[in-house]
């Protein structure tokens, strides 16, 4: 047998190297939007449906992450914990869900929304990004630009997520999302999309933290509001203090 494990890790590393190289400008622009939103007291949300929710949740309520990032929590779409599982995919095709969801948040002009969608072609992410922009929000999309050339949009407009964003982070994941094959398997396997998408989101947060920390050192702003690990002494008290200080734009606690 070929070394499938080795091939898998090499594929993951190659993807990370490629997005680091080719998406550096987009990461910096997204980080600038995020740093400004944190500094200006804006509301910040992240959204993804199904597996695309995993990278969205990776930067929420996270040790070393920004306290002020909220999950846009749409029932049935946060991960693959809905029963039946097919309902998650079905909800992505329902028109009206994005507007209903966003309109129930206090998000307004100048606030920031991250929308993650691997294909960028389903109704939910397209409607959500488009509606957010009509409300004056800034939108960062994390999606693969390999899809628009090879599959059709499921949105009536024929547009993709990428068409409704201020900044697009291209994950460059190939259509089908598999890196491996084997003559004894009837389909490809070995997805790296969560790894690459999580890296893009985490690197945007890291860069934004750097920008805010730079300004703080120059006396031009506050230090970035970062969660500490619950495994570190005093971490829980620190986190409670930061959540209290930012309570007006945190929606995941009382």
């Amino acid at each position: 047998m070929d070394d499938l494990v080795g091939q898998y890790f090499e594929a993951a590393v190659a993807h990370l190297r490629r997005v680091r190289e080719e998406e550096a400008g987009s990461i910096d622009r997204a980080a600038a939007l995020l740093a400004d939103a944190v500094e200006q007291g804006r509301r910040i949300f992240t959204f993804g449906a199904g597996h695309s929710s995993l990278a969205a949740q990776d930067v929420v309520y996270r040790a070393g992450g920004l306290v002020v990032i909220n999950l846009l929590n749409v029932p049935g779409m946060t991960g693959v914990n809905v029963m039946p599982a097919q309902l998650g995919s079905a909800l992505e095709r329902v028109s009206g869900l994005a507007t209903a969801t966003l309109d129930l948040t206090p998000a307004t002009s100048g606030d920031l929304l991250f929308v993650i969608s691997l294909s960028g072609r389903q109704v939910m992410p397209v409607e959500l990004a488009a509606h957010a922009r009509t409300r004056g929000m800034h939108v960062v999309g994390v999606t693969s630009l390999a899809y628009p050339g090879q599959v059709t949009s499921k949105h009536p407009s024929g547009t993709f997520l990428k068409d409704h964003c201020d900044v697009v982070l291209d994950s460059k994941i190939a259509v089908g999302d598999h890196e491996l094959s084997h003559p004894g398997a009837e389909t490809g396997f070995g997805s790296v999309s969560t790894i690459v998408t999580s890296a893009l989101m985490q690197s945007v947060v890291a860069s934004a933290v750097g920008k805010l920390a730079d300004r703080a050192l120059r006396g031009e702003g506050s230090t970035p509001p970062l969660f500490r690990s619950g495994n570190v002494d005093g971490g829980t008290d620190w986190n409670a203090k930061l959540m209290a200080e930012n309570a007006d734009r945190i929606y995941y606690t009382f």
Copy 2:
């Protein structure tokens, strides 16, 4: 400012290279358990709490993934979508939740459970793994062995997840889970744990698929039951057929 984005990606790549090198044997042993469970018609579950749920969900109901992997879905613990968010962490400390949850599944002797926990020290993952073993299940733990030497267990026994596993996959994430620092930031930031943990889970699945495909080519077994992408023609019909064929051990659909 230093190149935090570059540092982040280098840290992610270095971690992936390290686990590929040092965990190859454990990945192979976990994959052997998974391949045997698939072939023998066993039930297969994955569990993680909070952010550790993200890598668990990454291999469930996934294009290119095995149809027969189920999420052990504990309300409030699948990701960070519970309100208030602190409830997720609190539930990890509740004794009795693991046994109640597992006892309501049909899992029995010879079935397989993956338990993901970064620190491996909370009550829930320790109880879950220990209880699964008393039921005769095989347990694969994905955890960082950096924690047991530096923090104390929250379980009354003083044991960690690693102490209740047939195979341990060591993510080697340092205590605190951050790779970056900045003189203007009051705590470290830049987590790679989702990237590394997802890679470990995906590589185990890939290796198991390879083992099953090898056997199929030799005429010693069936081809591995893999989901196709919904973006590929006929993918949905193919997936429905596989889910029907494996309905007796799938718990995420009607």
